[in-house]
Symmetry: C4
Subunit: 245 residues, 4 copies
């Protein structure tokens, strides 16, 4: 019980700093993509920042693993965290670092209420839109037939993809760009699901028909209680007679 | 309690006039966009009407604020109204005036039943389609590569966007036009959510399986009542014997 | 009560013949559009068939109106039927005759169960796809910039529209064609809503968490019954003693 | 009862081998489409494998039919299995063999929990994406105006279709290709429905308002129990008096 609570306490204390680090990571990821005229030194700084943030997340994973009572169970239960830490080491999957960061922060969100779920989803959508735009821009800008060459086009494309509108005025042409697109599409479907489910849950909660059966039960129980009360009075009267007799 | 009721009474009395003003605003907004041959004087009149309507809404906000018992709470709770009043002052956000008007009227709608929610959503969808068409038309008509140049194309584009169909035969090319498009897309997703949630709520309400457990409970209570009734007869008999003996 | 039942009996008896007439109408509507080499006489026959079917539906409406106990209430409640009968008289709305037929048949469907709702929706979807394809084909074939010129393209376009995929390889260019498209889009959203709601209702029904509270209640009632039974045995023993004493 | 259990035991034992055969079938189906330079002998081997797998599924159907207690009921209840076995015999419907295999394996999945349903849907989606890509590629590659000529384009097109994004940068032009597309679109709508329903069911389950009525019932039952207990004490006292007297 104590180890468990140590792990929980660790996760509670590190939640805010890690979120700040994730924002820092996003900035470091965005700068060299958006600012094409960025010098070599700025790009180098950003790369260092990215790796430092990754390192902190990796250390955090190891600390949580060491604090866990059942380590095998922890690895099995938090396999997404493990993927998020290990995958960015492979160079072509560098794109995934931002997703990893999102996941690592997301795993922490203790979902307690419908409002919090919705907030988290809204945050994830904004994060994914930003990530999708930047990732597609960095990949498609140099593609020979690419048609997403400015940040504006990339953001616009992300929106048309995530809402499943898909005009087709801009579309990725490279393999990596299309993988990002698939991610955005699936997120968009999830987003639509969450929005619909939210409204449906609210409707059903609000307009649920009153349960007639239950009210009838309550009345039956009350009638029965009345019955027993009269019985008790009768027995009390009987007792008086019996004692008196 | 009295201030609260003064605020509520104010909102009830102003609801219809403000709705009429909103329609007037929409007309004044639409005329110079649709009628490109409109003279300078007509355009000027429309601009004046727009600003007068905005002024009335601003005054209404101030009156409600002054009638509110807890003014800080009012500002915090009605921050959307504040945005709707303040934002149109910035010139490039002039487009938002129509959205603001929609929001200000919408905030008044007291959602009381599923039918009213659905009516409100249908109204909002029609309003947004009209607003989206006009806004995109006014922005894209003068864009060098724009392909939305007539009211017909604008309305058609709004429908393909809001239903997330997105043929791509017409698509905005300017930043402002794309912001309008994003608004329509998000509204479309919300619309889809409301439609689905409505049907789901209706289905679940209608076809909910009879609760077996509950019927068993009712039977158990009836059996118990029978038991108690027999007990009472027994005690009555006992009393007769006892008195007789 | 008797007039009401006369109306209901009429509706039950006329349901199947009217459905057959609707199918006949659909065939008469489709033939001149699909078979462009159809001679004048065939087209004339089809037009006659269309008008005869419309006439039967109009007569049916009048009979139902005359059988209704509360005629004002009938008109108000069945305003869609009235529109469906009156609108096709206006020539440019000739397209609506097929929709009217669908509506008139659909109004009859007594929705009794989730399965029947789903069947009705599936039927409506097939009917709308057929209607949408034919209507768009007849309108767009002669448009100068039209790109829907064969039945195959029209059906394909209907599917991409109703499922909100919207590739944009084919899209209507005329006002009437676009109105048909908007109808298909909205039907598509409704279709998606029905599909989702169906699955959601099935999930919620199936995986509803066992109500722990209710099971505890049942146990409490059983324990109470046991208690009362022992009490009764006690009173019976008391009675024996009392009589014996 | 025994025949029933024989059928069930057969289905349990054959589930895993049939799944493996389905994967083998998918590989044999994919190889000649993906590897265009595949020699005649490899293609022949794949065709043989396809037919052997089909034969095993046909035999499995016959065994299940012979083990079934009520054979007419079995055929009527499992008409999808029958279609899946019979349809691929018609040459132009060769494409359906993969769908058939999916269906035959899918029918086996005993849906026991929300998680299993979701797993099954995810599996079906992956299978359909793979099938859609391969089928469209094999059909469109040789079409004169086709624009889906590589496996990458086919997979990309499948994703844009199933998520209903539909950029339109790639779209099938042949009748068969479009039929595959319609299948993917409908699957996409079903997928969206399952995702949304899942989230909605989870929300409703989780955030269902506490049933006030039920808590009041529990209290009523407890009060009643207290009443009966006191009654019993009274009767016990009465008995003592009676015996003592």
């Amino acid at each position: 019980m104590k180890e468990q609570s140590a792990q929980v306490r660790w996760e509670q204390h590190t939640q805010r700093p890690l979120l700040a680090l994730a924002v820092l990571f996003a900035v470091a990821y965005a700068v060299p993509i958006v600012d094409t005229s960025a010098g070599r030194s700025l790009t180098a700084v950003c790369t260092v920042v990215e790796w430092v943030v990754w390192g902190v997340f990796a250390v955090d994973y190891l600390v949580r693993l060491s604090l866990a009572r059942d380590r095998r169970g922890f690895v099995r239960q938090h396999w997404m965290d493990l993927c998020a830490v290990v995958l960015p080491l492979i160079q072509p999957l560098r794109l995934l670092r931002l997703v990893s960061t999102l996941l690592l922060v997301g795993q922490r969100a203790r979902m307690a209420s419908q409002i919090r779920v919705t907030t988290y989803v809204a945050g994830a959508v904004v994060g994914l839109l930003m990530f999708g735009s930047l990732a597609v821009l960095s990949v498609e800008r140099d593609a020979p037939n690419g048609n997403i060459r400015t940040l504006g086009d990339a953001v616009w494309w992300s929106f048309t993809t995530m809402t499943t509108v898909g005009y087709g005025d801009h579309a990725p042409t490279t393999g990596l760009g299309r993988m990002v697109a698939v991610g955005l599409m699936l997120s968009g479907i999830a987003l639509l699901g969450v929005v619909t489910a939210n409204i449906a849950a609210w409707f059903i909660e609000r307009f649920e028909k009153d349960d007639v059966e239950e009210r009838r039960q309550t009345e039956a129980i009350q009638a029965l209680t009345e019955e027993v009360r009269e019985l008790r009075a009768e027995v009390a009267a009987l007792r008086k007679t019996s004692v008196g007799g």
